[in-house]
């Protein structure tokens, strides 16, 4: 199994997955920085974790849920207030479907 994104194509792949655009200079710099960081982080590969279950969360409990009852909710106008553009009581956003 591969452990490091050494190749330039890997940085491009990761950037695409992350929804980030990198210019050539930044791509080269980040590739070097990521390589250095991952070289140092390889310390965790030497830890024997064969008997360890992963910890996704410090609380090993089921989520605390409130009773399923209607609660007061914010006014529509308050929620729309931060929107840059609104139309007919709806958020108005750039076209997302070509």
């Amino acid at each position: 199994m591969d452990k490091k994104p050494d190749a330039r194509t890997d940085i491009e792949r990761v950037a695409k997955l992350a929804g980030l655009a990198l210019d050539e200079t930044e791509r080269i710099e980040l590739e070097q920085e990521m390589g250095r960081i991952l070289d140092a982080f390889e310390a965790i590969q030497t830890v024997d974790t064969t008997a360890s279950a992963p910890v996704y969360h410090p609380l090993e409990q089921v989520n605390t849920l409130r009773p399923d009852e209607t609660q007061p909710s914010p006014e529509r106008s308050d929620l729309l207030a931060p929107a840059r553009c609104q139309k007919d009581g709806c958020l108005f956003v750039p076209r997302t479907v070509n």
Partner: protein, 496 residues
């Protein structure tokens, strides 16, 4: 502020009508204006809104409404905690124009308790940093020595409090972001037990690690503020009921004794070969002497996996961040770029995210995306989660042998501006002593312990078992009863 250096004393004076709420607020606003250029501790302060709050609190006090011992005291709020009607930027261009339509639970609790929200403090962008240099709004300076960083990511809260502009602040701590700036600015700060303080309204960096907590000059003020903040919240599904210490926890029986208030406590002093600055070693020795003088028994404590905890932490934190920050796409949330010549929606997202996020945030999103990506998930993210298990196990074992763990907060005092940004890996590794509390969810308290040869503060850390927050703060109060702590005036004079 108004000759008070503790919030509890100012609260008493306000309750006794010796000081009006408006006077306290105006004094803070004046200090903010005076120190704005020198420290850059704040992102948003709205004086009109502050004075309206002050008058409202005064009215509540005058009408005899039950408020809190801190009613009327101005408080700083880190700018990743939502405040209704007050801009909340996370230190980022991405949210530079965002004004939340609701209050975070902690902010609602402060308001209910009668505290006056003075404004929003500067921070590393999305809390990603250890120096408050990655903010879109420029770096914050350390009031003890401008030209040095205050620490981070809650550096604005620390600088504002250390310089006496406010006596209380809220920070958030994902890997040390309350404790390290407190240490570097001579303050006391608590990273509470995970789940004891609501995260509702905290703009997430890494959800399994983030906690909001109090910052103040003294442990006594932190305790009073913690009591206002803590408690279950139905709006946060990870919020816990007010859980007592487990029955088998030795700390439960701790009562102390006259003249030796820490008698009966065993403190494990982290036995670590990693190099620290001489001032840190001296502070550790002073802390041991003080703990022993107060009656505690101190013994060396080996703690394996400190070296591995840092990469585990960064892989987990950045993985969670890459997911949490995916919502900032310019459509649903965040900075919206000019769309005149975008090729498609993917191009639009990428442009907005690349222009809206700063370099450190982009780096961490990339690292986290990589750790979660197909082909690398098991070797990096899953392995980090398994190392997290081992770190949790080691701390649980240690806290069965000792009651509290003493360690430095950081291996150094505050570095000069720019020194940390030049080497991101070194910045990550400087979190060696703080990340374990976040990986495990344990509470940890940073306490000031002297200064280095340049006059920069040094902090030490006490870590306790889950839900020992109040006992940690009580221990801190005993330590500080024997050791006065000081504010730093920005003109360089120190006020006792």
């Amino acid at each position: 502020m108004l000759d008070f250096n503790q919030a509890a004393a100012l609260g008493q004076a306000i309750a006794a009508r010796q000081v009006s709420v408006r006077e306290a607020a105006e004094q803070s606003l004046k200090a903010v204006a005076c120190q704005k250029t020198k420290l850059n501790a704040w992102i948003t302060v709205d004086p009109d809104q502050v004075l309206r709050q002050a008058d409202d609190v005064q009215r509540r006090i005058d009408q005899g409404e039950a408020v809190s011992p801190l009613a009327g005291v101005p408080v700083a709020v880190k700018d990743n905690i939502s405040t209704r009607g007050l801009r909340t930027t996370c230190g980022s261009r991405m949210l530079a124009d965002y004004t939340p339509p609701y209050d975070a639970t902690v902010v609602a609790r402060l308001s209910r308790a009668g505290l006056v929200i003075l404004g929003k403090t500067n921070m590393d962008e999305f809390a990603m940093g250890s120096t408050t240099e990655t903010s879109w709004f420029g770096p914050t300076m350390n009031p003890w020595r401008p030209g040095h960083v205050p620490g981070g990511s809650s550096g604005g809260s620390a600088a504002a409090t250390a310089s006496g502009q406010v006596l209380l602040a809220l920070g958030s701590d994902t890997g040390g972001s309350i404790r390290q700036p407190c240490a570097w600015c001579g303050l006391t700060g608590l990273k509470p037990t995970y789940g004891t303080v609501s995260r509702y309204g905290l703009i997430a960096y890494a959800s399994s690690l983030d906690q909001i907590g109090p910052m103040a000059l003294t442990a006594g003020d932190c305790r009073i503020l913690y009591e206002i903040l803590a408690g279950p919240d139905s709006r946060d599904s990870t919020s816990l009921p007010d859980s007592p210490l487990p029955a088998d926890c030795k700390l439960k029986a701790w009562t102390g004794g006259a003249g030796r208030p820490l008698a009966g406590l065993t403190v494990g002093c982290l036995d670590d070969a990693a190099p620290v600055q001489p001032a840190i070693s001296a502070a550790r020795a002073a802390a041991i002497r003080q703990l022993e003088a107060l009656g505690a028994s101190v013994e060396p404590l080996a703690m394996p996996l400190l070296d591995e905890a840092v990469p585990a932490y960064y892989l987990i934190a950045t993985a969670e961040a890459s997911s949490n920050l995916a919502r900032f796409d310019g459509i649903r949330y965040g900075y919206r770029p000019d769309d005149a010549d975008v090729a498609d929606i993917g191009d639009y997202y990428a442009r907005g995210r690349s222009e809206g996020f700063g370099r450190e945030v982009r780096r961490r999103i990339l690292l986290g995306t990589f750790a979660l990506s197909a082909g690398f998930y098991d070797a990096w993210y899953l392995q980090a989660l398994k190392v997290r298990r081992l770190v949790c196990d080691r701390y649980a074992e240690a806290l069965r042998r000792v009651d509290l763990i003493l360690s430095p907060v950081s291996a150094t005092t505050a570095p000069p501006l720019g020194a940390s940004l030049a080497d991101p890996l070194a910045m990550y590794q400087s979190d060696r002593y703080t990340v374990a509390a976040n990986l495990t969810g344990l509470p940890a308290l940073a306490l000031p312990f002297g200064q280095d040869s340049q006059g920069l503060p040094v902090g030490m850390q006490l870590t306790g078992p889950s839900f020992s927050d109040r006992l940690l703060l009580a221990a801190g109060e005993h330590i500080q009863s024997a050791q006065p702590v000081t504010h730093c005036a920005v003109d360089g004079e120190v006020s006792a």
